[in-house]
Amino acid sequence: MSSEAKASPSVSVANPPLSSSMTRYRVMVEKELLELVRSFKLLWVPLVFILLGIMQPVSTYYMPAILEHAGSLPDGTVIDIPLPQAAEVLAQTLQQFGTLGILVLVLVCMGTVSGERNSGAASLILVKPVSLLSYVGSKWTAMLMLAWGSLAAGYLASWYYTGLLIGAVPLNKVIGSLLIYGLWLSFVVTTAILFSSLLRSPAAAAFSSLVSSIVLSLLAGLFPKALGWSPGALSGFASQAVATGISDSGEFSLAILVVFIGMIAAVCAAAGALRRSSAVE
């Protein structure tokens, strides 16, 4: 901004001290968390994940009995579905999170930025001496907290039930796959926030981020060799981590690097998009 450059001769004055921008960022994160509490999102999203997590082992365990009682089978049919391995059940839980869980998270994130821009609430905040990066960053932080909290609650519930009904899985394997899967969810949430900054319509933002996450994981599933480094491969790595162990650690560390760079780039791009068109309302 030419006015700023003109008005402030020295660089140190133009940028407010780091500590004060950190305080502002913290205040904004607190506000986002308060919003999550007031809108009950911090309650119902984890509950949905816990529900998904419990249902997987329970339905696996009772599947033979349920089929038997459905009554559509001719008499005398012997149902013999072997109980899957405990680790497989957890991998299936992750698949549930990958569909319904991601759907819920993306729908929760879809209006974070565009909603405030459309209502005009953003313009009142953005005229204050706050940076766009901390504005977007605070929303991103709060949403990641929601995603990680929900994932951890749901996955640990699933682990507990699996242990109860099917068999024990070592906790360190569970934690490992939880961390890997959390990165994949973080990436999806980040793209949802990016699209929410780029697009005015929340529905369009949700659609775009859902499609991009589906495409990423489909491609990674179709070409595991060529695209082992892509963020879409992370959910596969998470399942491997709990079931068999990760086979290709080189690809795996590359994927983690890519996902971190991708998230940072997406947050910066979201702030940049707001800077270019911050004519809000």
Partner: protein, 316 residues
């Protein structure tokens, strides 16, 4: 008196459309300045550029004092036309939040919040969700959040346009107090509001400044004597009125500098002459009226008002 804000050659285009082109003005510290113009003249665009919400296509803005405190955004308090808040927050929470974003400590922000809520008259609703506020209460809250960090310049976009007459009166009263304490810039399309509050006025039209200066001086400079004439409804007088105004009109069209009359407007049977020389024009008119035996019902000598000037500048 020092200059607080100097705007030089400020322009903004949206694609091929020039919303604001090459605006220059200065705002002196302690003054109250109105940005006056019809809807679509570029007022909001100008205000948004000053607040930094919109980046100008070209031009510069210099804030005095920005060098000391860093960011010029911290010098500005902004109230948009219809402010929207987080409806799930209470009034107190929002003000504290706004204060903390402006760099106040939690304790200072709380103190200011309490004082400001009192000041704008919504302390009774301080603990209620903003979602339940009326339009006038939101406008007051908007004013409070603009003032929370004690800005040097209070910028408002049509602060009273959306309010009902009562709310309008109350907010204007509040602004009258506030302008004693800080420099104020606000946009309006109502001349009356500008006249009631401001020292300086900037009239813009089609994205350009049509006229600017101290409101008293403008009033003096553009004050011209006028004669208003109304005649009875009888046929003879009416016919004379029509032919006389047509005659004056044709004289006007010749652009004769020496002519007595400068302008004539015929509205609802009342002719309004803007004259160069009152005595000569009055004598001429009286003689004409007597000679033609016109039945005059009203003849009034006066001056052009700011309203006339505004209409002329804006439509002319």
């Amino acid at each position: 008196m020092t200059t607080l804000l100097q705007v030089k050659g400020l322009s903004k285009s949206f694609g091929a459309v020039k919303a604001v082109s090459d605006i220059d003005f200065t705002i002196k510290e302690g003054h109250c300045v109105a940005l006056l113009g019809p809807n679509g003249a570029g007022k909001t665009t100008t205000i948004r550029m000053i607040t930094g919400l919109l980046k100008q296509t070209s031009g510069e803005m210099e804030f005095q004092g920005a060098a000391e405190s860093g960011h010029h955004r911290s010098l500005i308090g902004y109230l948009p036309q219809s402010p929207s808040f987080y409806s799930w927050m209470t009034g107190t929470e929002y003000l504290v939040y706004a204060g903390r974003l402006c760099g106040l400590s939690a304790a200072t922000a709380k103190l200011r919040t309490k004082a400001l809520l009192e000041r704008v008259g919504i302390s009774g609703a301080a603990k209620r969700r903003i979602g339940s506020y009326s339009g006038g209460m939101k406008q007051r809250l908007g004013l409070a959040q603009a003032l929370v960090h004690q800005p040097k310049l209070l910028v408002m976009d049509e602060p009273v346009s959306a309010l009902d007459p009562l709310g309008r009166k109350e907010v204007l009263e509040l602004l009258r107090e506030l302008k004693q304490e800080t420099t104020v810039l606000f946009s309006t399309h109502v001349l009356h509001d500008a006249e009631a509050l401001c020292d300086d006025v900037i009239i813009i039209r089609n994205g350009q400044i049509a006229l600017q200066g101290a409101i008293d001086r403008i009033r003096e400079d553009h004050r011209k004597p006028t004669i208003e004439l109304q005649v009875e409804q009888d046929e003879h007088s009416q016919r004379w009125m029509t032919s006389f105004s047509r005659r004056i009109q044709s004289l006007l069209n010749k652009k004769d500098e020496g002519a007595l009359f400068q302008d004539i407007q015929l509205q609802n049977g009342i002719a309004r002459f803007t004259v160069r020389e009152m005595d000569a024009a009055r004598r001429m008119l009286m003689e004409e009226l007597a000679h033609e035996q016109v039945k005059v019902s009203r003849l009034e000598v006066g001056h052009t008002s700011l309203e006339d000037l505004f209409m002329k500048v804006v439509t002319g």
